[in-house]
């Protein structure tokens, strides 16, 4: 154990890893703080760069950039009432109300401090949860993998803030995309329409870049530019944070735990964690009437929650190759590229790499505090960069990055196509995250499904015979039926008291 830890240290104490981590931190902070550029997009655009790094340095950039971007999204939320990333949307109003009351320092300080605490709590959960789960996962057969992957997809549809039917449709679209190519049980070209480039299937990374980056540039074409940030001088940012920690330690812990649970659930990520925690904080608060008027309590809980989910989202990714959220979906792609194929054996065979990942998460969350303070002080300059100068650069990165993945122009076509698909889906209320997870998990779920069917000789019964498979099956089917139950319950409730507002 100590030996592995020492090995892990020597893995990350190289110049390449340190420089990659620092550069990715600055990059994540800047992208996260610019409204409209999300943490997922920051990570997706990093992937082509990670091609040329060593495995540990590649993972370091992903870890650092995603953690920083999630915190940094709080900055424009507090100063402009425009969340920098969707994960900050839950409490942007509250933070902005605090700024108007003259408490901008407290709001931003809470953002950076409780983000760091949440990130470290999430990392601890990753360290504690992953190894014992790996023990259990070693005995998994294709039946368990099938249900687990299905459960992941169902969770992604369940937590989407949209109609569950549309979310499931989005998931099916993603699975359908994953059918393209010859990588299927028969090895026959499927849905390729004679196009040679489609034989290899659709690469998940260009699809992700299209859905999250190109679609965002498309949206910017029609929305007005956000107003420039007013210049202001900040007082001490960390003052009073320790007092808050003591006063709201229970809220902080609850935020951490909720964030960890939502992160571990496949498909649900930081934005969901923030929404749930903010709502929870309001529900259980002693002074709920203060919420919305610039009260720091909800900020503490939700800020602690969204960063906790980032690290714990790696649990299912590392163990099963099932992403905990869209950022983890990208991370899985990078892991495969770097020969660290996700699976329970990763924890025994490549233990030092795993420890290196834990260490990098902890380091990223510690350096988030000084970096975050500098970023807050520089925010008035960074946020003055007009959108018309940022978006063109994003466009170039999309084109070059997607080309670099296979040194193939077809990647650029994929990016453009998925930009349009993502834009149209989002506009019509179809959650794109469900589709993305469908694309990432499609091949795996098909393999598990077909292999299981061959083993069972076409019978459905063996899918439920093994105990863990039965539990996972019950959970997956429950997740499918849940919206129906909610709907029936709402109908029943609405009959006696008409015109109750939904939720």
């Amino acid at each position: 154990m100590l030996n592995t830890l020492a090995q892990a240290f020597s893995l990350i104490c190289t110049w390449e890893v340190i420089v990659a981590m620092l550069a990715a931190s600055v990059y994540g902070l800047v992208i996260g703080s610019l409204p409209g550029l999300s943490a997922t997009m920051a990570t997706a655009l990093l992937v082509p760069v990670t091609f040329y790094l060593s495995p540990i340095a590649a993972i370091a950039t992903i870890v650092a950039a995603s953690s920083m971007a999630i915190f940094s999204g709080d900055i424009p939320g507090a100063l402009l009432r425009i969340p920098g990333t969707p994960a900050s949307a839950a409490y942007a109003d509250e933070a902005y109300a605090m700024t108007r009351k003259g408490e901008a320092e407290l709001a931003l300080g809470a953002g950076v401090w409780f983000s760091a605490v949440g990130g470290i709590a999430g990392t601890l959960s990753l360290m504690i949860l992953a190894p014992p789960l790996a023990e259990i996962a070693l005995s998994f057969s294709t039946f368990e993998y099938f249900w687990l992957a299905l459960l992941g997809l169902m969770c992604a549809t369940l937590v989407a803030r949209s109609s569950p039917v549309k979310a499931i449709a989005g998931m099916f679209i993603g699975l359908l995309v994953s059918c393209i190519g010859i990588e299927n049980p028969g090895g026959v070209p499927r849905f390729t329409f004679g196009v040679t480039n489609l034989l290899g299937g659709i690469e998940p990374i260009p699809a992700l870049v299209g859905v999250f980056a190109v679609a965002q540039v498309m949206r910017a074409m029609l929305t007005p530019e956000p107003p420039p940030i007013p210049r202001r001088k900040f007082g001490s940012i960390m003052a009073g944070q320790w007092r808050l920690t003591k006063k709201y330690h229970w809220q902080m812990t609850r935020g951490n735990i909720i964030g960890i649970i939502i992160g571990v659930l496949p498909g649900a990520g930081a934005d969901m964690a923030a929404w749930v925690s903010y709502a929870m904080s309001k529900r259980f608060s002693k002074e709920p009437e203060k919420f919305g008027t610039g009260h720091v309590e909800g900020l503490v809980e939700a800020g602690a929650s969204n960063n906790a989910s980032i690290a714990s989202g790696w649990v299912p990714s590392l163990l099963f190759g099932i992403p905990g959220d869209t950022i983890a979906a990208i991370a899985i792609g990078v892991l495969y590229m770097k020969g660290l194929n996700p699976g329970p054996t990763l924890f025994t065979e490549k233990a030092s790499s795993m420890y290196a990942i834990y260490l990098m998460f902890i380091i990223a969350n510690i350096i988030m505090i000084p970096f975050g303070i500098v970023m807050i002080r520089l925010a008035s300059y960074v946020l003055r960069a007009p959108r018309s100068s940022v978006m063109p650069v994003i466009m170039l990165c999309c084109a070059v990055g997607s080309f670099a993945i296979g040194n193939n122009m077809f990647g650029v076509v994929t990016v453009a196509t998925f930009g349009v698909i993502g834009y149209v889906m989002e506009e019509n209320g179809y959650p794109v995250a469900a589709m993305v997870l469908g694309i990432v998990m499609g091949t795996m779920i098909e393999q598990a499904f077909v292999t299981s069917l061959i083993k069972s000789d076409g019978s459905v019964l063996p899918f439920f015979e093994r105990p863990i498979a039965a539990i996972l099956a019950a959970m997956a089917i429950g997740a499918l039926i849940w919206p129906v139950l909610v709907w029936v319950w709402r109908k029943l409730k609405r009959t006696p008291i008409p015109a109750t507002s939904p939720r």
Partner: protein, 161 residues
């Protein structure tokens, strides 16, 4: 691009049915009950059912209204002409333009055109968009071609490094 649920739902019914039919047509693996045709069949059927449910408006009550965060201060009302809506297709069109001409024109020239058009479309004056169109491609070229060794097309204007 906001379409009624009926339209998107029926489109999904068509897509699902086509996928299921396409899957059905695939040759099975000899001597095996399940092959490459099963999964598309299942997915296509599921998608078609979802599309049908969406077209019939099932599950609509779950959709939360988008929280529009009103921006303070006065904003010019967005232009509402039909052509304005087409601007949204500019980014994918520019990417396809890149695919079509990058090999002939080279990275620097194509990228400069893309930057200039995107930046102008987003409301930049030429004082910003022209220098940006010169500097951004060179910067990206430095990072990706020099540092990361991505073989970007040289075309008419090869870089000296």
């Amino acid at each position: 691009m906001r379409l009624p649920d009926r339209v998107t739902g029926l489109f999904l019914v068509g897509l699902g049915a086509a996928a299921a039919y396409g899957g059905w047509q695939l040759p099975p693996v000899p001597g095996q009950p399940v092959g490459p045709n099963v999964f598309p069949l299942v997915i296509g059927t599921g998608l078609a059912l979802c599309g049908l449910a969406i077209a019939l408006g099932i599950g609509h009550s779950f959709e939360e209204e988008e929280e529009l965060i009103p921006v303070e201060g006065d904003q010019p009302p967005p232009p509402t002409s039909k052509l304005y809506g087409l601007r949204v297709l500019l980014p994918p069109a520019l990417l396809l333009f890149y695919v079509a001409v990058a090999d002939q024109l080279g990275f620097i020239i194509t990228a400069a055109l893309i930057v200039f058009v995107t930046s102008t479309a987003l409301g930049a004056r030429w004082k910003l968009s022209l220098p940006l169109a010169v500097l951004a491609p060179i910067g990206i070229h430095l990072i990706f071609s020099k540092l990361l060794r991505v073989p970007l097309p040289a075309g008419l204007l090869p870089m000296p490094w």
